[in-house]
Amino acid sequence: MSLLELENVSKRYGRGLKERVALRDVSLEIEAGELVTIWGRRRSGRSTLLRLAAGVEDPDHGVVRLDGRNLAERRCEMLGGDIGLCRKTFSANEGQYVLEHLLVGQLARGISPSQANDRAWEALERTGAGNTARLTPTELDAGELVRVAIARALTLQPRLLLIDEPTIGVDVLARDDILQLLASLAADGLAALSTTGEATALTGARALQLSDGELHGRSTRDLAPVVPLRRMSA
């Protein structure tokens, strides 16, 4: 059984002439310890796919499962629990300094202040962002923001990490360090699903292409798509 499974998932927005198909019959399986990155252009459906994988939205058709359990039925238990959705925005309402942003979500879930503090520092160190704890998010560069966003998700000890465009706006040298970080988190047993508009961010991941709502590439870890070339009719 895969950790995350999307089975024949479709999603539409709008109605009538304004209807837009965001995902068409998408199937995807992700195992623990795997880094999967989906390349797609804007409006290809990649953000929708992440929202469905997070359980933030339900599919119109098909099922999204985590550990075999339908996300639509157990959403509240998953997001912020087994599923860590990395957000790169930091609301001033949640705190001033980076460390506070990493504490608030934990405290809201009943984790004790001392334990939350330990987890926050551990997550910052794990993502190489330990030196940002006393800074405000506005003082961070693009690469540091991503590291802190990942750290914030890690404080809740997810089994699946979801992140949209982890390398956008990050300079070339820092970009590879972010990819290396995601690969190392996967090597520690975490499953990570990211989306990107930059093919350079596919390195080290199982790479797929999302085009006009359709997913292309290896939908499972082990099975390469077998597309036999048909004999041409005369």
């Binding site: 930059e198 596919l202 790479a207 292409q209 798509p225 048909r230």
Partner: protein, 210 residues
């Protein structure tokens, strides 16, 4: 008796342009740093791992002989000394110039291959489903290539300045070329899908009128 220059001219004329990718790669390693046969074989394995295959160390000596006869490399005087003589080679000015020309010609060849692939795919204008199958495979190959490009920090072996630079250049070339190819795959898929849809409509109208 023929002098060296005369021999080299005669070799070049009789043998034509040097075609072997391995010989060009060995010339590149000599340009990078003067070297001797055994060391070149070891450096070859590290530098061109997964890109070129060396059939055996004896081929290195054959290739060095060819490169020398063509005047692309020369033996460093006095390097045969000692109990185990190891002649070391360095590139000649002509060797460096030829290597630069070869690199430029390879770029042209890459462009030509890409155009050829696109043209050859177009033969399926009347069988768009066949083209779509090829495009799927091409897209999968691009994704695999983008996925397997190594991060420079994952490179193994001694981290000297040249190998670090080479790793970054190879990785970035591979990844950025996929940056261009993936949108092309999308474009080609849309073109042939439109053809397939139009063909299906024509067939459907044909059935209706029959």
């Amino acid at each position: 008796m023929e002098d060296n220059a005369a021999v080299q001219t005669r070799v070049k004329r009789s043998a034509g342009p040097m075609q072997s990718a391995v010989q060009w790669a060995l010339l590149g390693l000599v340009i990078e740093r003067p070297s001797y046969g055994y060391e070149l074989a070891q450096r070859f394995e590290t530098a061109y791992d997964g890109m070129l295959h060396l059939s055996g160390i004896s081929y290195v000596y054959t290739a060095l002989d060819t490169l020398q006869r063509r005047g692309l490399i020369e033996e460093i005087p006095g390097s045969r000394g000692g109990r185990q003589p190891k002649p070391r080679y360095r590139a000649t000015t002509e060797g460096v110039e030829s290597y630069k020309e070869r690199l430029t010609a390879q770029i042209q060849e890459d462009f030509r291959r890409s155009r050829l692939f696109a043209r050859q795919l177009a033969v399926f204008a009347h069988q768009p489903e066949a083209a779509l199958e090829v495009i799927e495979r091409y897209g999968d190959a691009c994704l695999e290539e983008a996925s397997h490009a190594r991060l420079p920090s994952q490179q193994t072996g001694p981290a000297d300045a040249i190998s670090g630079l080479a790793a970054r250049l190879v990785s970035e070339e591979s990844r950025l070329s996929m940056e261009a190819k993936l949108p092309w795959v999308e474009y080609a898929r849309n073109e042939f899908r439109a053809l397939a849809a139009s063909r299906a409509r024509r067939l459907s109208r044909g059935h209706e009128s029959a």
